[in-house]
Symmetry: C2
Subunit: 361 residues, 2 copies
Amino acid sequence: MSAVGGAGRAEVVGLGLVGSSVALALRAAGWSVSGRDVDEERARRAVELGVVERVEADPEATIVFVATPVSEIAGVARSVLAARPGDSRLVVTDVGGVKSRVVAAVEDPRFVGGHPMAGSEQEGPDGADPDLFVGATWVLTPTKATDPEAFRRVRSVVGTLGADVVELEPERHDALVAIVSHLPHLAAANLMSLAADASTEHAVLLRLAAGGFRDMTRIAAGDPRIWPDIFRDNADAVLEALDDLRARLDEARRILVEKDRDALVALLERARSARRNLPPRAPRPESVVECRLPVPDRPGVLAEVTTVLGALGANIRDLEIAHSAEGERGVLVLVVDADDAEVVRAALVGRGYRPSFRALA
Amino acid sequence: MSAVGGAGRAEVVGLGLVGSSVALALRAAGWSVSGRDVDEERARRAVELGVVERVEADPEATIVFVATPVSEIAGVARSVLAARPGDSRLVVTDVGGVKSRVVAAVEDPRFVGGHPMAGSEQEGPDGADPDLFVGATWVLTPTKATDPEAFRRVRSVVGTLGADVVELEPERHDALVAIVSHLPHLAAANLMSLAADASTEHAVLLRLAAGGFRDMTRIAAGDPRIWPDIFRDNADAVLEALDDLRARLDEARRILVEKDRDALVALLERARSARRNLPPRAPRPESVVECRLPVPDRPGVLAEVTTVLGALGANIRDLEIAHSAEGERGVLVLVVDADDAEVVRAALVGRGYRPSFRALA
C-alpha cells in the first residue's frame, strides 16, 4: 500500500476537466503525475498550468486514470494494460458516465470501472480543481473478474482524493443513472421542445412559464456534446427506464380520460412524499435539518438570510430556491446542522421570517 | 370609471390565500371590501386580520372576485349574477387556474374570466399579502359574449393591484398552462414515482440523484390538493399536450433503438437553444443581462456574491442556482440591470470569480 498511498507515479489519459482535476488532486496528494491528450495544445497547456509534470505514457505508473470521452475508454484502457502484460504493479481505472460496456470490453483483472459524480461547467485544464472530488460520491464497479487487490488500491487512491466511494455492479450503476440522470435529461429536452414548438405566441408562453417549468427544463440547457455517447452506451438501461415512464404516462392518460380522481391523488401523493424525502444533499441526514422559509422571490432576501446565518456561524449545508408554481414568491429551503436549528430559528423569527423546520433522517 | 377606480365597494368570495390577498390589495387601493367563505372560522379570521371589513354578500358591490376552488367558481359566479339580473353596475371575475369550462358555464356579459399567475406556500388569510400581484402576470379571458365595458372595468381594477394584464382566449390560456404547468407537473410526478419504485437501494439512489434530478422533480413536492380539479377541468388540453409528449418519447425511443445520433443531437441542440432563450423572469429583457458564474456548490459563496452586489447597489433581478448535472459544483445565474453589468463584472473578477455575461433581449 505504501507504493500507492504515498508518492508513487500516476498517469492520466485525457486532460479535460475531470482528468485534469484528477491529475491536480493526485499531485496535491504527493503523486508524480504524467498525462496525455490527443489534443497536443491541451496537453501543453496542462504542463504549463502544472496540472501534470510530463506529457508521456509512463511505463512506471502504478495507477492510470482513463478520462477520455466514453467512446474511447475501453480502447485506451486495453492498450495501456496490453503494454504491460502480467505487471501486477499496474491498476487502471476510468471516469466514464456509463459502465457496463466499458467493464465488459476491457476484461482484465487489473481494471476497475469508476464514475466520479462531480463536474462543472468549466472545460479542460483551465477549469481543473484539485478539490473537485472532496465530498463527492465516486462509484467503483468491480466485478468477479476484478483482482481484489486492484480494487483495494483504486479505492484507496480515490479515497485520498476526498471522494466517498460507493461500490456498485456495473449494470446496477447504469440502471440507476439511467433513472436519475439520463431519462430526466431526455424528458426535459422533450418538454422544452414541446413548449418551443407549441407556441407561435412565444412571448406569451414566456410570461406564463413560471418557476416550475424553469426548474424542470433547466438541465436541457447544458452542453449536449457528452450525451450521444452516453445514450449509445447506456441504451438498454435508458430504454428500460423510458419504457417504464411511457407506461406511467399511458396510465396518466387513462386517469385523465376516465377522470379517476382517486388514482390521480394517489399518484401525486406518492410522488410528493418521495420528493420530500429526497434531501437536497446531506451526507448524514440525521445530523441536519431542513428549514423552509417563505420569502418574496427577491434576491435581496437571499443576501439577508445568508448573512444572518453567516453571522451566527451556522453552516448552510445546502440551499434551494423553490420558486412558487406561479408568480413572484418562493420558498428558500436551507439545510443546516441540527445543532444550529434553534439559533437559526430565533434569528430568522427575530427578522420577521416564518421558518418551519423538519428532520431529514 | 371613478366608481371602480376610486373608493367603490367590492366583494371577495373565498378567503384562501389568493382571495385574501385580492381583498387586502383592494383595501390598500381604497376599496370597501366584504368577503365570504364556506369556512366560517376562516371568514372570522379574515375580519380579525383586517383582510375584509365585513362578512356578507354585498348587494352594492360593483366588482366581485370569485376565489373559491375551481370546481365551485361557475356556480358561485352564476348565483351572484342571478341575484342582480340586468344590473350593469356589477362585474364578476374569478382567479381560477383553468378557464374554458368556467367561462362557458357562466355565460353572462358581466363575467370576465381571470387567472393571476401568483401564489405562495402560505395558506388562508394569515398568508395574505397586498403586494402579491405587484409585477405578476394576470390573464383575463374575455369572449365575444363579454360586455367590453365589463372587461375594461375588470382590467382597470386588476391593473390598480399592480398586475400586468395579458388578454387571452380561454382555450388559448388553457392550452398554454397545460404545456408550461400541468403537463410538467404530471411528468415530474411520474419521474419521481418511477425513481422511488425502481430502487430497493433507496440510499444509493439518493447519493446518485444530483442537481438535475432534484430540479426536475421539485414541483412534485408541492401541495397536491389543487391538482385533481385542474386536471379534470383542463383534461382536453392536458391530454393534447400529453399525447404530444408521448409521441416525442416514442420518437426518442426510436432514436435510442436505431442509435440515430444526428436526430439525438438535433433534439438536444434544439432544446438547449430554446431553454437558454427562456429568461429567468425579466419583465423588460432589453434592460437586463444574464451573468453566469461557475461556483463551488457551497452556500457561503451565495452570501459573498449577493453581498458584493448589494455593496455596489446593483439590483439582482433574479437568481437561479443551476446545480451541475453531477456533484458539488454549480453555476449561479444572476439577472442584473444592463447598466450595472460592467461594475458587477469588475467586482466579481476582482474576487476571483469568472463571470460570463449575455444579453437576454
